[in-house]
């Protein structure tokens, strides 16, 4: 399964989810579980780092949108780190740039969060 998911604590009550590989209908449940678990634990401020993601499709986008909706209910937020132009393009054409904070670096995503 060509997906890597790693969750790590950063400053404050903020967590970073590192994703890598390909996020599709087969692999996205693993991403969904990792994000869901964090939220269940009461983590509502998330940075999701997509720098190592080579591919994402609508099931992956759906998982990110689902996560965002859940944290928003608790006044939380999700910021994305995304540098791959093809993946940025997908956030562009789907209009998701307007609902996610999308940043060039983890630092920037983190600063914008808190």
């Amino acid at each position: 399964m060509d997906i890597k998911v790693n969750v790590r604590e950063a400053q404050g009550d903020c967590y970073v989810v590192d994703l890598g590989g390909e996020i599709d209908v087969y692999t996205s449940p693993k991403v969904k579980d990792a994000i869901g678990e964090l939220i269940d634990r009461g983590v509502y401020h998330l940075v999701i780092n997509l720098e190592k993601v080579r591919y994402i499709d609508s099931t992956g986008l759906g998982v990110l949108i689902g996560g965002l909706k859940r944290v928003r209910e608790h006044g939380g937020s999700v910021n994305l780190v995304c540098t791959n132009p093809q993946i940025k393009k997908i956030f562009d054409i789907t209009g998701l740039v307007k609902i996610f904070g999308i940043f060039e670096s983890e630092d920037a995503a983190m600063k914008a969060l808190v």
Binding site: D2, D57, L61, G62, I65, G66, Q86, I90, I99
Partner: protein, 142 residues
């Protein structure tokens, strides 16, 4: 895929049949990307094609209940690549297949929108009892 295509004008056709299961979408994506690369599409165009094919397969897996296989047919055109994705599931009503409104922040509903955004000609042929057929074309830049 059911009858060999052998025409006078020799267009190259590649056909792939994969189980209608999530774990085979990556193969479909990769194979179609290799066809596109063979036809000299750019890396960005190949990514568009990969995503469109993956969305079509994902819909077959998620909505075409009862389909055992997904069939993908790639036809090399003089000016592009025509891709046919079909399943043999229950199908849907034609009016269900539409791009969502972007304002609508739903979790789903992006697949058809992406297919229509990334490909040049897209048409669905929906048979409630015989499954769904999607034909989409990506043109090579002139």
């Amino acid at each position: 895929m059911n009858q060999p295509v052998q025409r006078a004008e020799e267009t190259d056709v590649v056909e792939l049949r994969v189980p209608c299961k999530a774990e085979w979408v990556a193969l479909a994506r990769l194979s179609v990307a290799a066809v596109a690369s063979r036809l000299h599409f750019s890396i960005d165009e190949i990514e568009d094609i990969k995503l469109a094919v993956a969305e079509a397969c994902t819909n077959a897996i998620q909505h075409a209940h009862g389909s055992s296989y997904i069939e993908i047919r790639c036809e090399a055109l003089a000016d592009g690549l025509r891709i046919n994705v079909r399943d043999y599931g229950r199908g849907t009503r034609p009016e269900s297949i539409r791009s969502r409104e972007l304002e609508d922040e739903r979790v789903g509903g992006l697949g058809v929108f992406l297919i229509r955004s990334l490909m040049d000609d897209v048409s669905y042929d929906v048979h409630p009892e015989q499954g769904t057929q999607l034909v989409m074309t990506k043109r090579l830049p002139v």
